[in-house]
Assembly symmetry: C2
DNA sequence: GGGTACATGTAATCAGTTACATGATTTA
DNA sequence: TAAATCATGTAACTGATTACATGTACCC
């Protein structure tokens, strides 16, 4: 029916798509603010991608672009029917792959770095991040939607695990 | 003194560098086998990168390349003094950033997917991965070097946490 | 009115992915 | 000996990062 979508959709695409779907309408700069606390820990994007990705999605017909006539001539994006469908299809399908750990500290550990030296600074970082999550949890309680709150809880659990792990190395 | 290394070194670079340092000498294909169980869960590489990255590192003087004169004309790589220095500098410096979660399941959760639906398949995947780690732990006990074993323990801890997390969603 | 921070974007580069190709061994 | 699998690589593409650039608003 419609011309084939040969645009590959990446996680980046769905993040942008979702953020715009929720906002109703958004400029790249607004997307930047929308990439707030919660999701930045989960999956952050470079600000340049918030300009290129919407353009890409618009070309594929998943977003509609409207440029201001005067002044800054900012570009505003809204999701289209097609975009909404793509998004809901994606949300329905449980993903088949796990994430890799990709932790730079672990990587060095793997290749022979001194465990205690790494552990010391890692522990600090994770304790800070843990505190951030606890704060997010407090702030979100009752007001934030379910999805983001669950993600915060997941993050919290992992940070606790990291703290446990690196502490155990320091104590060994 | 030596010409400036304008080659940026990424985690990929250090993985290749380390694997070659450990092997003494290796061809890209041998690197592929060296990317065994443990590290693949931590940080996997595409096989094509095992061809391009050593070439890049050789050009930067961190590896020495030797090509077979006859037959398959495979390329063999060894680490140079400069490479060894780069590697040990990297190992010494505790990294300053944390990893993002980048879990596709969590991402969908964040944007409103049905928690239980996601949880079901995620739980299975993580239970399988957990079993793999337990097996690795058993196999490595006493024989594998410290670094990789610690990484397995870290992986184990996180898989347990994932199982806990997704289970709690199913039970809620 | 000059500095500083926020806002807004484009261009160039590069790392990483996907696709393509073919040679060598093993096995049925 | 045909099929399948392992071994070995190159080429093309493209998403993501880095760098560059300029505009606007606020505040001291």
């Amino acid at each position: 029916m419609s011309s084939k979508t040969e645009t590959r959709l990446t996680p980046t695409s769905y993040i942008v798509l979702s953020l715009i779907a929720v906002s109703g309408e958004a400029t790249p700069y607004e997307l930047k603010s929308a990439m707030a606390a919660g999701i930045r820990d989960l999956w952050s994007l470079q600000h340049a991608q918030l300009y290129t990705e919407p353009a890409r999605l618009a070309k594929a017909g998943l977003l509609r672009e409207r440029q201001e006539e005067e002044g800054r001539r900012r570009k505003h994006y809204r999701i289209t029917e097609k975009g909404r469908r793509a998004l809901s299809d994606w949300l329905k399908e449980p993903p088949a792959e796990l994430a890799e750990l990709r932790d730079p500290g672990l990587l060095k550990l793997f290749f022979g770095a001194d465990p205690k030296e790494i552990a010391e600074t890692r522990l600090t970082l994770h304790e800070e991040k843990l505190a951030e999550y606890e704060e997010l949890l407090r702030q979100g309680e009752g007001v934030a939607p379910v999805g983001p709150m669950l993600v915060v809880q997941a993050g919290l659990g992992h940070e606790r695990e990291w703290v446990r792990f690196w502490s155990s190395i320091l104590e060994s």
